[in-house]
């Protein structure tokens, strides 16, 4: 059998204990204390408001400075990295794989065959096609040229030089 608990009765509300407690004097903070707390709150709020107008132009200046720095970094910053990226794929692959830079054209073609279209810089590709022609391997050069035209249909700067 479940005996009624003091706590259950009490939590149901309106217990004699709660009634008696509510009858007791209910002191509130003295006015001086109210003034101190509210004054402190106003002071903090005022400080925040005073700071905001000062900080706004500062934040704008910081944003402009950051943007300019970012643009300069993009334009002038990573020159060395840019040069590496622009280098012919053969050089990059050779550097990564430890392959000698004077690898044969066959080896180059083998490396290029796995390239997705436009993965190679146009200039590097054309240089390789020209090298194939110089070596008398026109068939390979033609095949590479067709692939080149598929990847760069609008490119015309040097095609006359290497066209079959």
């Amino acid at each position: 059998m479940h005996l009624p608990d003091d706590l259950d009765d009490y939590l149901r509300g309106d217990s004699a204990l709660s009634r008696q407690y509510k009858k007791e004097s209910a002191p509130t903070p003295p006015h001086a204390l109210d003034r101190r707390v509210l004054g402190r709150s106003r002071e903090v709020q005022g400080t925040a408001r005073r700071l905001t107008p000062c900080l706004a132009p500062l934040a704008l200046a910081a944003s402009v400075l950051l943007s300019v720095a970012l643009v300069l970094a993009i334009v002038f910053g990573p020159q060395a990295a840019k040069r590496v990226e622009d280098a012919p794929r053969l050089v990059r692959v050779a550097a990564q794989a430890g392959t000698p830079a004077v690898a044969s054209l066959d080896r180059r073609l083998q490396l290029y065959s796995s390239d997705p279209p436009r993965a190679r810089a146009a200039a590097a590709w054309l240089a390789d096609i020209a090298a194939l022609r110089r070596a008398g391997r026109n068939r390979d050069a033609d095949a590479e040229f067709r692939r080149f035209r598929d990847a760069y249909p609008g490119y015309s700067a040097t095609e006359l030089v290497i066209r079959p």
């Binding site: 003091d6 009490y10 204990l17 002191p27 903070p29 204390l33 707390v37 509210l38 709020q45 925040a48």
Partner: protein
């Protein structure tokens, strides 16, 4: 589907407005909670001066941390959690000071420093102003007193009391149960001792 704001209690909405820069929202919150908070502190530490200091400290912390406020629960649990932490800090400081005073006394220091609110005259003054119920409340262990005050002053549930005081649900329940049992006894009428018949036999002599 209800939005976040619709699920919040009115106080939490006020606190969010205050967080977002509305000073009037703070006035409204202060007006609503100043009484319960003051009584909670006063009856916890049992000294008006210490309660006033803690009262200011609680509101200062609320103001200082307003930008981090997130309405995850009832606002009262947030406010009284700050109050609970301030009170615990107070009791720790107080205990340390008393230990220091005691060790100074052991070293036969001429005037051991006793906190203002611990001075016998101040304690006596406070006790005289209390009813039997408040005296019984003051006699409870601090944790039980706190559980009772949180429920009476703010209407917090057992779950909310557990959250504020950072204990398990059963612990909070047990504290409140002990508190009300003891306090109920203070409401019982004090039994008047029955008149004893005058013992005269010792006047009659023993012979």
């Amino acid at each position: 589907m209800l939005g976040e704001m619709e699920l919040l209690d009115e106080d939490a909405r006020l606190m969010m407005r205050y967080r977002d820069g509305d000073p009037d929202a703070f006035l409204a919150l202060y007006a609503r909670h100043k009484g319960p908070l003051y009584r909670y502190l006063l009856r916890q530490v049992r000294n008006a001066g210490a309660a006033a200091d803690l009262f200011q400290e609680v509101w200062s912390r609320l103001v200082a941390t307003r930008s981090r406020y997130e309405a995850r629960a009832k606002f009262a649990t947030y406010l009284f959690q700050i109050a609970h932490n301030c009170t615990i800090d107070f009791f720790r400081r107080d205990l340390k000071m008393r230990h220091t005073a005691r060790s100074d006394d052991a070293d036969s220091a001429p005037e051991p420093e006793v906190p203002e609110h611990q001075r016998p005259d101040r304690v006596a003054e406070f006790v005289e102003q209390q009813s039997a119920l408040l005296a019984a409340l003051g006699g409870l262990p601090q944790e039980q007193r706190e559980a009772f005050l949180l429920h009476e002053e703010t209407g917090l549930t057992i779950e909310e009391i557990a959250r504020v005081t950072d204990v398990g649900l059963e612990t909070a329940k047990s504290r409140l149960r002990y508190a009300i049992r003891k306090l109920k006894k203070s409401l019982l009428p004090v039994p008047i001792p029955e008149a004893q018949p005058l013992r005269t036999n010792y006047l009659k002599g023993t012979s």
